[in-house]
Symmetry: C2
Subunit: 346 residues, 2 copies
């Protein structure tokens, strides 16, 4: 009825030393992401954050959870673990930014089959560095080694963000009106969406290798194009939010322009001129390689637009001037009109 040699947690596949090693390797980056709101209490059960010390009192909290999706598979094939943490953090930042919130703190979760310290620490450091660059704290997280549940070498990376917005500054679509302008901002590529389909097209249909540099990618390798980090629009757009120049925003993630814009349209339609921008070579390869129908492509991918601003006519010139002063391409996608919450591609 009993095991001959004493069993330990480690020989059941859970190596607490490896966990500690991963955290030690990420520790300096985590500490560098600290902000005035963080109440230092290393080793505590939960992370403590004082919104008042971060300059916000009596604000509404905005929170979002997300993963990186199968962009992780590309990172794993390439052996590049340092960028997907940034993808995750910046995706989460954009998700609350579109409601008018600035980020306060972030928590990460890494689930693995067998914990390799250099992989896990690179994932966490990527999160921490993106937090630092965007002015939020990596407040805590969890690393779980789950033999049997994930295969060796497999992992998932999940993030949670909390931000704050003043009550009268919440952007929820209620300020959207007919006649307002749709302004698109470029994405850096797929961001964190559409990778299951993109992998199938690039690797199975087009039979490309990560190191190939097909002509439409303009010199970039498949790996570089697919792992380009999700852009954060926080620094670019925060001045416009402070000056209250936007009626609404939509972060173009899963579901693309067709499913994300309706989240803020209410009883309006968005009319988009597809010739107002040119999706990059990456998207052209995906559409052609997958022989994709237009609407399917516009749901599966962001098609080169990572963020859409809905701008009242009186602020349009100032908004465009700000964006252009930052070196940003400004795509005049079209207009909002009376309707029923649909997106029309013209």
């Amino acid at each position: 009825m009993s095991s001959k040699t004493p069993l330990t947690y480690k020989n059941a596949g859970v190596d607490i030393d490896a966990q500690n090693e991963a955290l030690a390797q990420a520790r300096e980056s985590i500490l560098q992401s600290s902000t005035p709101g963080v109440l230092g209490n290393v080793g505590a059960f939960g992370g403590l954050f004082d919104p008042a010390k971060a300059g916000c009192r009596d604000a509404v909290l905005v929170s979002s959870a997300d993963g990186v999706g199968t962009k992780l598979d590309v990172a794993k094939r390439a052996g590049i673990y340092g960028t997907v943490g940034r993808d995750l953090v910046q995706h989460c930042i954009n998700d609350i930014l579109v409601q008018g919130a600035r980020p306060l703190f972030f928590m990460d979760y890494v689930g693995t089959g067998r914990l390799e310290p250099h992989v896990v620490s690179a994932l966490i450091r990527g999160c921490a560095e993106a937090c630092k660059d965007n002015g939020l704290a990596l407040l805590g997280g969890e690393t779980a080694e789950m033999p049997g549940l994930y295969r060796d070498g497999d992992f998932d990376l999940v993030g949670f963000i909390v931000g704050a917005v003043e009550r009268d500054r919440i952007l929820d679509g209620s300020r959207v009106e007919a006649g307002q302008h749709l302004i698109g901002l470029r994405s850096a590529g797929l961001h964190t969406n559409g990778y299951s389909l993109a992998r199938r097209i690039f690797f199975d249909e087009l039979k490309l290798d990560l190191n190939d540099r097909p002509e439409p990618l303009g010199g970039a390798s498949v790996c570089e194009a697919l792992l380009a980090p999700h852009l954060s629009y926080l620094e670019l757009l925060w001045p416009l939010l402070e000056q209250d120049q936007l009626a609404a925003m939509a972060h173009i993630t899963g579901g693309g322009l067709l499913d994300n814009l309706p989240r803020v349209l209410g009883q309006h339609d968005a009319h988009i001129a597809c010739d107002s921008w040119t999706p990059g070579g990456l998207f052209q390869m995906l559409v052609q390689g997958g022989n994709m129908e237009r609407d399917e492509a516009f749901r599966a991918f962001n098609m080169g637009i990572g963020m859409v601003l809905i701008v009242p006519d009186e602020h349009r010139a100032a908004v465009c001037a700000h964006l252009e002063s930052k070196g940003e391409d400004v795509y005049a996608l079209g207009r909002v009109e009376a309707g029923k919450g649909q997106v029309h591609l013209h």
Copy 2:
């Protein structure tokens, strides 16, 4: 160079209809977990929560991220998906409760290989029902279908909690003093910790089946014993926190009594009399079946103690009276003495 039949997201393995179906099945439970702090905004990018409407202004936020670990594997083998959500929520609640915080809201993440709506909706409903029972809101979440990253049938479940505590009520160990009492509260079993080792002992060493009812389990099946939900100590302990009768608390999770108590001991040691309680038959089977050394067992498992209260002498009688009035077994584990942050088992 191109696919003959048009490719879609669905034939790349991502089924948005299945995702919507899962959410539809969980929707009623999610809505029922709503609290006055939730600003209704279904379909928004992030969840909005107003702490003032939840009765807390100018409080410190306490946040924690966690998973269920390989208890998920037991749930999967048993085909029982309704309880692990509760495990996750109640684990997270305890993690912030020990710092004096009451929970405000929770976010869930489900990662899967192939999204089966009845599985995912059961996972989310389990979270939502536990949120409702504990008075916090399931504010949002993410469901990700990641073909190739998880195998069909595999999934992970991750949670993130935010709570609040008044600045002068934060429990961080600073009130711990020599002479204070260590009071243990029973766990319902392994809670969410030690499952990789427990599965190895039960299934590989003892060759037991989920439906077996070995005598030490007192009539329960292996499945019932292993899936017993993680207890929430919120309702039981909140009155003691409101009356400020506790010096500190430790949630006994990964690392057991030996690694969790030191988080609040500071420059004190905890002296625990191992004869002050009897670990249930489940723990006796694990120790014997794994031929485990005592300290290893006390690090891998909670050994029947899910929470430890550190109680000043002047409040001991009142604390014990409260716990006993709620029908709780009160284990007088021992005392805190001057030391250096260690746990001594006697």
